[in-house]
């Protein structure tokens, strides 16, 4: 059980952060279909930063500091990369789907091009590095805390600092978009930008803000994904996580609470597919691998999360409501 919750958290956090990223862009009126690309870009730059940091023994000693710093770099990279989308869709009023698709193609191209030129490989792996005492240390950010009670162990053993950062960010950003003046203005620009402009809100600025926050979160999510789920390997792909996050955002009805629910449901079912053969319950002192003994193939468990999302959507979709002005370039003359 503890194992299951830990695994679920690891899968959920990147999904949660990136779905939140999508929400920020779309509530400000910009469809960010580039989430996948920005994740790839953030993951690549973050991995590159971690690689460079770990050339210095000081950073090998302070592993968690390296993690936090490279997460920061990934977020900045994502924010900068998303400016390409903002520029085309806000300033030049280009089609947002086209801009997003371009970014989705651009990110893996840049990442793989640079990795192959400078490392002569098709992927950038986090290799062991030497610390200040001259020992070779493996890459890994996991925190081990075995001497806690069952509840403590669930959340603090084999955990990543990114999990707490992700949860904290989620709380802060949910409050920001609903309880602050800027958040209200941002949402107004996604619903009716002309009305927002008529009361003196700078629509361009708000949309830039939304998309840039979105980019930073997606970049961060991408790096967290490769650091925790994909063994620290930047390979120009994030297994379609960006698109899944987009789906979870729609699933969550463009609202933080819905998103967190969707992310946990999906993360749980998804990790079930990965670890179903390791799940065991103890019956009369014997370990029983109950899911494995059903004899269903792995593909069945992999299918569950996607089918479940479709089923849930079938019953909840009547309430589904996208921001009204999303995807429509702001035109002052449309008032």
């Amino acid at each position: 059980m503890i194992f299951l919750i830990q695994k679920t958290l690891i899968f959920t956090i990147p999904l949660l952060i990136v779905a939140l990223a999508g929400m920020y862009a779309e509530r400000s009126g910009i469809i960010n279909i580039a989430l996948d690309g920005i994740m790839i870009f953030g993951a690549f730059v973050g991995a590159l930063a971690a690689y460079l940091f770990r050339g210095n023994p000081f950073f090998v000693d302070h592993n968690q500091l390296t993690f936090i710093l490279s997460m920061l770099v990934a977020a900045i990279a994502g924010a900068l990369f998303s400016l390409l989308l903002s520029f085309s869709s806000i300033n030049l009023k280009a089609d947002q789907t086209i801009g997003g698709t371009a970014l989705n193609m651009l990110a893996p191209a840049i990442a793989l091009f640079i990795i192959k030129i400078f490392f002569a490989k098709d992927q950038l792996e986090m290799v062991p590095a030497v610390n200040s005492a001259g020992q070779t240390k493996d890459f890994g950010y996991v925190i081990l805390n075995n001497d806690l009670g069952p509840v403590g162990r669930t959340f603090f053993d084999k955990a990543y600092i990114s999990t707490y950062i992700g949860i904290a960010l989620f709380i802060i950003l949910s409050i920001f978009i609903y309880k602050t003046k800027t958040g209200l203005r941002l949402r107004a620009c996604g619903e009716h930008p002309q009305a927002a402009a008529s009361v003196g809100i700078n629509v361009f600025k708000m949309r830039y803000l939304g998309t840039t926050i979105s980019g930073a979160l997606a970049g961060l999510g991408g790096y967290i994904y490769i650091a925790t789920v994909a063994n620290g390997t930047a390979s120009g792909a994030v297994a379609g996580m960006g698109f899944l996050a987009l789906a979870i955002m729609i699933f969550g009805n463009w609202k933080p609470l819905g998103i967190v629910l969707g992310a946990f449901l999906f993360g749980f079912l998804k990790c079930l597919g990965v670890i179903y053969d390791q799940l065991k319950i103890n019956i009369n002192g014997q370990d029983v691998y109950f899911l494995k003994e059903l004899g269903l193939p792995m593909y069945f468990y992999n299918l569950i999360p996607y089918v479940a999302v479709l089923l849930v959507l079938m019953f909840t979709s009547k309430r589904s409501r996208a921001p009204k002005a999303e995807g429509i370039p702001y035109d002052k003359g449309m008032r």
Partner: protein, 421 residues
Amino acid sequence: MADMNKNDQVREKTPFFKKPGVSSVIASLVSILGGLIVGFIVLLLISVCNKDMSVSDSLKGIVTVLGGPFSAGNSGDILFQLGNMLFQATPLIMTGLSVAIAFKTGLFNIGAPGQYLMGAMGALIVSLSIPTTVVPVWIVWILALLAGTLLGVLWGAIPGFFKAKFNVNEVIVCIMTNWIAANVVSWVFNSTKEKFVNYAETKINFINKTSYNGVATPTLGLDKLFNNSYLDISIMIASAIAVILYIVMNKTTFGYELKACGFNKNASKYAGMNEKRNIILSMAIAGGLAACGAALWCLNGSQDFKWNTYLTLPADGFNGIPAALLASNNPIGVIFSAIFLKYIGVGGSNLSAQSSFNEYVSPLIVAVIIYFSGFSKLIKDLIAKSGKKKKPKNVGYGTEDPTPAADNAAEAKTAEGGSEV
């Protein structure tokens, strides 16, 4: 009356480069030029940073990419690469058409990879399980193509059904069905391993080629013509389908209804069209097109299909999106944009083989081209504007520009029209 004359004037005055079709092509060409310039700058930066390379290397690099298959070296290789490029463009044309048709109906078909996988599965199973000793080969070929296409139609109809019946965003359903398809295909082939997996060549990751059962698309000697490449008539089939689609979309009531649904769903409903039926039909057609592309690819007879695909989706499915965008969703344009994408791709692999740059510069250039193609409306507006600024000048100097003459003609017409009234 006055309005009508005004329209006449506008039509007659439109110079060649301001016609909508022409300005679209110009906009695409400007995007392509922009992409190539950015690609060149990237190569230039790399060559400056790298001590082993000189600036001339980057120039040579961009020429290699631009040359596509023609930068292969000797004429035999050029023909071989050209043939393969045309063959590989076939599934891309089909997925491009799939995305374009959905776009025309106001739907974003990001589900082409899943539909593609279903099509491949249908075609492979039928072509490998019907014994060709009993049934003639060409019948098996047609059955396989139909089976693949039909599976794709059904698979594509799912997002359409969800959209029409439950008002679920088609993007999310497409993404889900992609991964469901990837798992279903792997599952089916995993449980029928003995029958379909290529044990003979110990390629256990791949399904038997359809030629194993004697089924292959006719080549009409095209493969020989292009130096034993894979080329067969599937490129012609795809092109014919594109032309048919163009006619259906632009010249029939059905196509008009689909487009009306894309422009304004509520208005088309108000006009008495069944917008729900149109959404489902459009997605079903899109699914069938993508699946047909996969079936054509598999039925070539010499292609290896990787069956354990539950972690990856086929790239040709996603690349249908840029192919459609580059062609501004024009079915005939998709033929050229798909071939162009593969052309740049071949150029990239030649670059990788011939220099210390790598093949990823091609997707980079393509991505930048797509980015710029988003500005096509801006470019078109600029083209339209540029004429307006020039006009008074031309009239003033009385140059050989045809505009004043057209003006006069239109004026004369107006006068005639006026007198009649």
